[in-house]
Structures are given as structure tokens and as C-alpha cells.
């Protein structure tokens, strides 16, 4: 199996599983507790059906949308995800270049393995910096200033990781950053020699946004859950968010909003967007799926800020359903991470191309030529 055999989400996942040592694969693939929310994030889309309109003249389809004041050629973008160089040695460099090629937004995590400065010098297309609120205020300020200096367009504050989720696959595989070699995981690393060679020869693994401030960015073994639980400030509140919003002074989003009340408050403190997200089912299992909750939130605040549907998206039709409900755009992490692991920049580009092709085909079948044609008349809930 190689990249040419990858036609959908499941194929990219399969190839990624072949290429990655198992602790790393399961870090991407796993979620919290019993992974019920993770599964629901995708299956929620199956509870609503698309209703096409015919005979509308659909030879030219325009997929562009505008979020955070930036026009994107696609109605979906690459959500910020941590530690990308663990998945492929090019990491954020590969993902960023693929985003640029398709002119969509590239989300860069605070836990990225390539610096905002380097990314900024590499791509001039829209960029989002994802921010965690640390106990160390100096670190917070430094992140903000660096992202601002690097001309990032959007700041997204993650609000659903106030403590680490219970990711039991990581407990079993011993996933830490950098990876801890346990006897049981050793075999898995040993049977994936290319990954090991690349990891060791393609430049030291680092967390450039954190390493001047904390030991977690360097050689110490620490789990992501541990990082969330020990480094992040659990007393973070609306005032802190409001302060960050004004300190940033540009487009600002809260990532991880699930309740209508919180969405309204996001408007009040000056956010220009929110990501309806449960962190890919990786935090609170049993919590509601973004798509299940989307309509309520769009009804309450859709005219005041950009609502992004994030999580569970595997298909162009999933995006069509979310956009029909009123989301301005969709985003996802696993959406491109398996593809990154499967084939670096070429993999991510192939994944984007596949979703784009699906979107164009599905828009035509729906009788729509532009994103604004999509509305709730296109949907029937079962």
C-alpha cells in the first residue's frame, strides 16, 4: 500500500498505521475514556440527510469562503495540532506548504515542532496560532508577541484542555514526548526503522515556543496529559480570555466552545470566531458532538461571529452538512494528520485534493455553485 492507494480518510489512516510506531499512531488515533464522543463526532453526520436540488446549471463551483477577514479557497482548513514532526520529519513545514498550495488556513499549535518565525518566512497564506494559557505569564506574553511579530492572522485560545483527558491508549503504549522506549514499545519502534532513522537524522526534535521557558520542551519525558495538567492554568476565566483578546488586538477565537451561553459570552468579550469542538473527543468523553450542537449555537451567535465546526469530519458531505447548518467553515486534525504520517507534504496535498474533489462533486450533486447556496433547506434530520 502506498500513497496512490489512499482515496479516503480510512485509507490514509491505514497507511499511517503501517508507517508509525504504535505509541505515535495511537496518540493520533486515540481519544478519551471509551472513545464514545470520538465515534459520535463522525456518526452524528449520519443522523441528517442531504436533500439535493436539480436542474440548476452547476458547471462552475466556487468553494471559497471568508473567515476571520481572510478569503480561503476552500471551506475547510487544517486545525492546529501538536508535535507534527513526530508524525513526519517535515512536520509543520510539510503541512504549511500544502496549506499554502491550496490557499487555506494553517493552524499552528503552541506545541508545534517548527517555530512561528520559520513558518511565517515559508508561507504567506492565512495562518492561525493556537494558544494555551500557561501558569507562566512570561511564556504567555512571549507566545503572543512572537505570533504577532510573525504576522499570524488569527489567535485561537484553546479552552477545553483545562486538565488532560484520560487517553487510555497513551497510558498503555507509554506515549510521551519525546517517546519513551518501554520494552513493549521498543518492538514497535524496531519494526518501523524508517521512522526511527528519520527521527534521529532529520534535526533535533524540539518545541520551539516553549523551550526557553520550560523543561517540558526539551529532553525530559512528559506526557501531553501531564503537560495540560501541570503547565496550564486551571483558574483561567473569562477575564483572562478578554485580556488576551485585547492584548492580541486582531482576530481572536475560542476553541472548544460547546454551550450556547458560552458562545454568547464569546461575542461579549470581543471574539470574532469560535470553534465548536470537543478536542476531537480527546478530553471529556460523553460530551456532545460538535455537529449535534452546531444548529443551536449558529442560531444564537451565527450573525455575530464566525462559527467553525471542528471534529469528526471525514468526508466532503460532512462539510456540506455543517455548512448547511450555518458553520462558516470546517476544520480538523486527523483530517490531515494521517496523511502527513502517510506521505509528508505529498500526503497532505493528496488529502486536501481528495476533500476538494469530493466537495466539488457533492456541491454539483446538491445543485449548489457557491457555499452561500447551502442552507437548512438542504437538510432533513431523521
Amino acid at each position: 500500500m502506498n500513497l496512490n492507494d489512499c482515496h479516503n480518510f480510512g485509507d490514509f489512516r491505514k497507511l499511517a498505521k503501517k508507517k508509525l510506531p504504535s505509541p505515535i499512531f495511537h496518540y493520533i488515533d486515540g481519544a478519551a475514556d471509551d472513545e464514545i464522543t470520538y465515534a459520535r463526532n463522525t456518526s452524528a453526520f449520519d443522523d441528517v440527510d442531504l436533500v439535493p436540488n436539480v436542474l440548476r446549471g452547476v458547471e462552475n463551483v466556487d468553494l471559497s469562503t471568508t473567515i476571520f477577514g481572510k478569503k480561503l479557497d476552500l471551506p475547510f482548513y487544517l486545525a492546529p495540532t501538536a508535535l507534527q514532526r513526530l508524525f513526519h520529519y517535515d512536520g509543520e513545514r510539510a503541512v504549511g506548504k500544502a496549506a499554502k498550495k491550496y490557499n487555506t488556513m494553517f493552524g499552528v499549535s503552541a506545541l508545534a515542532t517548527v517555530s512561528v518565525e520559520e513558518i511565517s518566512s515559508m508561507i504567506d497564506t492565512p495562518k492561525m496560532f493556537q494558544f494555551y494559557f500557561h501558569k507562566d505569564r512570561g511564556l504567555n506574553d512571549a507566545c503572543l508577541e512572537r505570533a504577532k511579530a510573525a504576522k499570524f492572522d488569527v489567535m485561537a485560545l484553546t479552552v477545553d484542555t483545562i486538565t488532560g483527558g484520560n487517553r487510555e491508549r497513551d497510558l498503555r503504549t507509554g506515549f510521551t514526548s519525546p517517546p519513551k522506549l518501554t520494552l513493549s514499545s521498543l518492538f514497535s519502534f524496531a519494526t518501523k526503522p524508517m521512522w526511527g532513522i528519520n527521527y534521529l537524522t532529520k534535526g533535533k526534535f524540539e518545541l520551539p515556543h516553549l523551550q526557553d521557558h520550560v523543561k517540558e520542551g526539551t529532553d525530559t519525558n512528559t506526557s501531553i496529559g501531564n503537560y495540560f495538567s501541570t503547565m496550564l492554568d486551571q483558574s483561567m476565566n473569562w477575564k483572562d480570555a478578554e485580556k488576551l483578546c485585547s492584548q492580541w488586538g486582531g482576530h481572536f477565537a475560542l476553541k472548544g466552545i460547546m454551550s450556547v451561553d458560552d458562545a454568547k459570552r464569546a461575542v461579549d468579550i470581543g471574539c470574532t470566531g469560535i470553534m465548536v469542538s470537543n478536542h476531537g473527543g480527546r478530553q471529556l468523553d460523553g460530551s456532545r458532538a460538535p455537529f449535534d450542537q452546531l444548529a443551536e449555537i449558529v442560531d444564537a451567535v451565527g450573525d455575530k461571529l464566525d462559527v467553525i465546526c471542528e471534529g469528526g469530519i471525514h468526508r466532503g458531505t460532512h462539510m456540506l452538512k455543517a455548512l448547511s447548518l450555518g458553520a462558516k467553515a470546517c476544520s480538523g486534525g486527523r483530517l490531515y494528520l494521517y496523511a502527513l504520517a502517510a506521505g509528508g507534504q505529498a500526503g497532505v496535498e493528496r488529502a486536501i485534493e481528495k476533500y476538494k474533489t469530493e466537495l466539488i462533486r457533492d456541491m454539483k450533486l446538491m445543485g449548489c455553485t457557491k457555499i452561500s447556496d447551502l442552507n437548512r433547506n438542504n437538510l432533513r434530520f431523521r
Binding site: 475514556d33 471509551d34 464514545i36 464522543t37 479552552v159 477545553d160 483545562i162 486538565t163 488532560g164 483527558g165 484520560n166 487510555e168 497510558l171 498503555r172 486551571q234 483558574s235 483561567m236 476565566n237 473569562w238 483572562d240 480570555a241 475560542l254 472548544g256 466552545i257 460547546m258 454551550s259 451561553d261 458560552d262 459570552r265 470537543n278 478530553q283 471529556l284 468523553d285 460523553g286 460530551s287 456532545r288 458532538a289 449535534d292 450542537q293
Partner: protein
């Protein structure tokens, strides 16, 4: 696989299955008839979603609540379960010690393998006694009086066991108390020499609370089912329950209430609590699951008595959902029994620690500082 590899219900269950002879494992694991209700008890939680609030400045959430007049450190306690010595020689003592360590309540079954007095002596944790109304009233009276003397905090009267459920796994494995060695089960015992060795070298198996009152608790290979059918009074009615409440004169629950009407009646006769339960799906298969019913009952009587949800709880998020739907606390049986079978007192401590950590983590993720903040606004039922 050992205790350190156990992170959730399935892990503890797996390890217990390895360690326990098959008839004993299946006695815990099984339900009645087709086990439809048993499965629904847990699946019901998946038809309801939690909706977190963010930026709530949670800090360290307070997980304590008060049940049966006692403050406990987390909203989850050990359900009363019979014959715990079958799972580890220390039986109820191991469970009670683990409960004390985690500041929660231990519950004793009428059919416990250690006596009221023995457990009271070794653990200071809050204690609930589970009562069956026996045909011989002097047995019932004696149990109530001894609980008072031993400073038990509450009493619960089981009302869903007038006749025993049809537990087909027990028919097949030949589960009796003490276990009957059939040819078929012999192999399963032989393959677990550690269990057999402990069973034979420790205190003789007995139903400690009732051994002086009936010969059924001792040597006769008698199935639990037969015991229930012979000793418990199927004519038990509301007056009998009221009688027990008066004689006890303290915090009192009916265990096994499922209808709103019965919940209202429980108030009238003086109950301070009810345990919404279908006996872990072991009695009437096809009956409603506690979580499916808790909101209706809470809406009707939640302000007048404590509601305990008993059944299907395997995760911290299950507890959160039950509380948001109106329960004051949850109790669980199967999950902690598996941990008891998997690792004795240490096993129960690990399961309580895991559940505590899950409840705490999920409270933080929900943006809740105290259990009071968990209300109807935090959940949405799927259609």
C-alpha cells in the same frame, strides 16, 4: 496482566476473569434472561451528552456530597454485594478498608461473608446495611438492632428481590454457595489453583450475619437463588417497609424503586432516600434502566429525599450525567467486585482512585466547581 494494567471497567473485568473460577466470575458478570436490561444500564448513559462550560476558573473542584447523613469525599460508593469472600478471602473487610481510605461509603449485604460486628471493628468508613425482609421476623429485627449497635449510618431495604431473577449463566455453571463442584466447573477451579488454595486455607465460607439463625448459610450447597426464594418474604408490603423504618429510626432507603409513584410513596412512609436500581439487571430483564428513569423521579421527588442511582456506572462521566439528571450520588457493584476479584483491597483502592480521578478530571473539563453546579442545563438528551 496485573493490577497496574487496569485502567477501566474492561481491564478489571478481564483480570477478574483470569483470576476467578468461571462459575464465580459469571455470577458477578451475568444478568437475568437475555441480559438486555444489564446492557442498557450502561448504554443508557450514551444517549445523553454533557455540555461543558469553559473559562469557569474551576481550580480544585469539591467532589464531596452527603448521603444517609454522612459526608463522603466523592459522589460514588460501594453497593451492597453478597458473599464477597468468594472474590478475595478478606471479602467485605477489604472493601470496607478501601472505602475508608477513599472517604466513601461501604455497604454490607445481608448475605455478607463477614458479620456486621466484624466489619464495624476494622473500618471507620460510613456504612450502609442492606436488609432483606425474612419470613422469620426475628431475623429481620435482629439485623436491624445489630446495625444500630454497630453504629451503621443507614439502612436500605431491597425491594426488587421478592423472587430471584432467572440468571441463566448460574444455571449453566452450577453456581451455588458454597460453590458446587460439577465436572464441568472442576476444570475451571483446577486452572486457578491460587484461588482454590486461598479459599481452602482461609476462614470457612459462611453467610456471617445469618449463620446462627438458619442452617441455609452454612454447609448445604444451596444456590443463592434458592436462598432468596426460601427465606425472603414475597408477601412483603409497604407496611413491612414502614415497620423497618420505625424500628431503625435513622436514614433509610428503599433499594430498587423504579416508578415515580413508588418514589412518592417512599416519602410518605418516611424514607430519607431511594436507590433507583434494577439490581444490576439481575432481576427483571426488560425493565427500565436507572439512568433512563432518574430524571422523571428526580423531577417528582428530588427535593424531598436523596436519590441514589445504582446500576451501569462504569465511568466518571456516568456519575456526572446521573448527578446532572438529579441524583445525589451513585453506587456501583459489578465494577468494584471485579476489582476485588482482580486484586483484593488494593484492587478496590485502585478502582476508587481511578473513578475519583475521572470524576475530578471531568468536573474540571465541565467547568464545575462543586457537584451542585451539575444540573439539567449541563446535559442534552439525544432524540
Amino acid at each position: 496482566m496485573n493490577l497496574d494494567d487496569c485502567y477501566n471497567f474492561h481491564d478489571f473485568r478481564k483480570l477478574a476473569k483470569k483470576k476467578l473460577p468461571a462459575p464465580i466470575f459469571h455470577y458477578i458478570d451475568g444478568g437475568s434472561d437475555d441480559e438486555v436490561t444489564l446492557n442498557r444500564n450502561t448504554n443508557a448513559f450514551n444517549d445523553c451528552d454533557l455540555v461543558p462550560n469553559i473559562l469557569a476558573s474551576v481550580g480544585e473542584p469539591d467532589l464531596s456530597t452527603t448521603v444517609f447523613g454522612k459526608k463522603i469525599d466523592m459522589p460514588l460508593f460501594l453497593s451492597p454485594c453478597a458473599m464477597q469472600s468468594l472474590y478475595t478471602p478478606e471479602g467485605d473487610k477489604a472493601s470496607a478498608r478501601a472505602a475508608e481510605k477513599h472517604g466513601t461509603m461501604y455497604s454490607m449485604s445481608t448475605m455478607a461473608s463477614f458479620s456486621i460486628e466484624e466489619v464495624a471493628e476494622i473500618s471507620n468508613c460510613p456504612k450502609l446495611f442492606q436488609l432483606y425482609v425474612h419470613k422469620d421476623q426475628s431475623i429481620t429485627d435482629d439485623l436491624i438492632d445489630r446495625c444500630r449497635a454497630a453504629n451503621f449510618n443507614g439502612l436500605c431495604l431491597t425491594v426488587d428481590t421478592l423472587v430471584a431473577g432467572n440468571r441463566e449463566r448460574d444455571h449453566r455453571t452450577g453456581f451455588t454457595t458454597p460453590p458446587k463442584l460439577t465436572l464441568e466447573s472442576l476444570l475451571s477451579f483446577a486452572m486457578r489453583p491460587e484461588w482454590v488454595f486461598k479459599y481452602l486455607t482461609n476462614k470457612k465460607f459462611e453467610l456471617a450475619n445469618i449463620k446462627n439463625k438458619t442452617d441455609k448459610g452454612t454447609n448445604i450447597a444451596k444456590s443463592v437463588i434458592d436462598y432468596i426464594n426460601e427465606q425472603y418474604d414475597p408477601a412483603m408490603n409497604w407496611k413491612d417497609a414502614e415497620y423497618c423504618i420505625k424500628r431503625w429510626n435513622g436514614p433509610f432507603a428503599l433499594k430498587g424503586v423504579m416508578s415515580v409513584e413508588d418514589a412518592k410513596r417512599a416519602i410518605d412512609i418516611g424514607c430519607t432516600a431511594i436507590m433507583i436500581s434494577n439490581h444490576g439487571g439481575r432481576q427483571l430483564d426488560g425493565s427500565r434502566s436507572p439512568f433512563d428513569q432518574v430524571k422523571a423521579i428526580s423531577d417528582a421527588v428530588g427535593d424531598k429525599l436523596e436519590i441514589i442511582l445504582d446500576g451501569g456506572v462504569r465511568r466518571g462521566t456516568h456519575v456526572l450525567k446521573a448527578l446532572a439528571a438529579g441524583a445525589k450520588a451513585c453506587s456501583f457493584g459489578k465494577m468494584f467486585l471485579f476489582s476485588l476479584g482482580a486484586g483484593g483491597q488494593q484492587g478496590v483502592e485502585r478502582v476508587l482512585q481511578n473513578m475519583h480521578d475521572e470524576i475530578r478530571r471531568n468536573m474540571i473539563l465541565m467547568g464545575c466547581k462543586s457537584l451542585k453546579e451539575l444540573d439539567n442545563s449541563k446535559i442534552i438528551y439525544k432524540k
